[in-house]
């Protein structure tokens, strides 16, 4: 699935087949004679070689060579870049807006990448299933604001430092990166705040409870897988 090169689309069937894939697909409708398209081509080449985007597919289409396709995709000028996944159009950039293009690729690659990694069945959008998989991703799972290296909240930061103090093995999820998880998890667990700690899929509690366990020296055994 890893591609280091930009695919050249030759016909409409090839394009339509490509769109069914469940990874991120970044397409460039271009013309050889357009200076701005050459610029976007360079950007595509660079992005396609970026390890972070090894599961992203980059493809270019000569807009004038396949007019039915340009029409089908409502392309009226070049360069036009359209980002897809699973037949859905996710984003569209008209003109040589390199910052916008790279930002969209980054955002959507991250979003889709984290989905594909977590749910084994990529077409399963059920949030409860997604949450259950997330909660069980590690024997000790922490839902926090930010990351262990860069917590975005004093409560989360303190929780992480307590876990580190007892040398706990844990994985984390940044709920600031995913609003759907942030809100749905509160409902599923019936717990209103973050951070939240789960051991073997069960909610243990938040910072207050972790602190209590540490003080009563029950923390290490509570975290044992």
């Amino acid at each position: 699935m890893s591609t280091n090169t930009v695919i050249e689309i030759k016909d409409i069937q090839q394009f339509n087949k490509l769109l069914l894939r469940d990874t991120l697909i970044v397409t460039h409708f271009m013309a050889e004679w357009a200076q701005q398209c050459l610029q976007i081509n360079d950007v595509f080449s660079e992005l396609s070689q970026n390890k972070d985007y090894s599961s992203v597919i980059f493809a270019k289409v000569s807009a004038e060579d396949i007019p039915e396709l340009s029409q089908q995709m409502n392309v009226t000028s070049v360069p036009t870049c359209i980002l897809f996944s699973k037949s859905k159009q996710l984003s569209r950039i008209e003109g040589a807006d390199v910052p916008q293009l790279t930002q969209q690729v980054k955002q959507l690659a991250f979003k889709l990448g984290s989905n594909v990694g977590i749910t084994s069945n990529a077409s399963d959008h059920n949030i409860d299933e997604r949450l259950k998989t997330l909660i069980n991703r590690s024997p000790v799972m922490v839902f926090m604001k930010g990351t262990p290296d860069a917590p975005r909240c004093g409560f989360s930061r303190t929780l992480i430092s307590i876990l580190n103090e007892v040398n706990a093995n844990y994985d984390t999820f940044d709920i600031l990166s995913d609003e759907e998880v942030r809100q749905s998890l509160k409902v599923l667990s019936n717990w209103p705040t973050y951070p939240q700690v789960y051991v073997k899929g069960q909610l243990i509690g938040g910072l207050d409870i972790i602190k209590e366990l540490k003080e009563s020296e029950e923390l290490v055994s509570a975290l044992k897988p």
Partner: protein, 86 residues
């Protein structure tokens, strides 16, 4: 029985006069034989409406009278690392 509700919003990066971050200390014999998790859930339940609406952060100390007479101290909440809307 003892209860103390503290508005800690001033410790956070929110406008003056905000009522968004709280610490609650509750002492009740009803907590006897309940795990911390269950005690916190009781408090969360009692505050459900507030939590759904305005409260952004809630620190809870839920103790039995016995524990309180040994503890007798209010914990410190961590300093804020976030801002509005976090």
């Amino acid at each position: 029985m003892y209860m103390n509700v503290m508005n800690e919003s001033h410790k956070h990066n929110v406008p003056k006069g905000s009522e968004t971050h709280f610490r609650v200390v509750i002492v009740s014999p009803q907590f006897e034989s309940l795990t911390s998790l269950k005690r916190h859930r009781l408090v969360n339940e009692a505050l459900r409406q507030e939590l759904d609406a305005n409260i952004h952060a809630l620190a809870i100390q839920a103790l039995t009278p016995d524990q309180w007479s040994h503890e007798q101290s209010v914990n410190e909440s961590p300093t804020c690392r976030g801002g509005m809307g976090l």
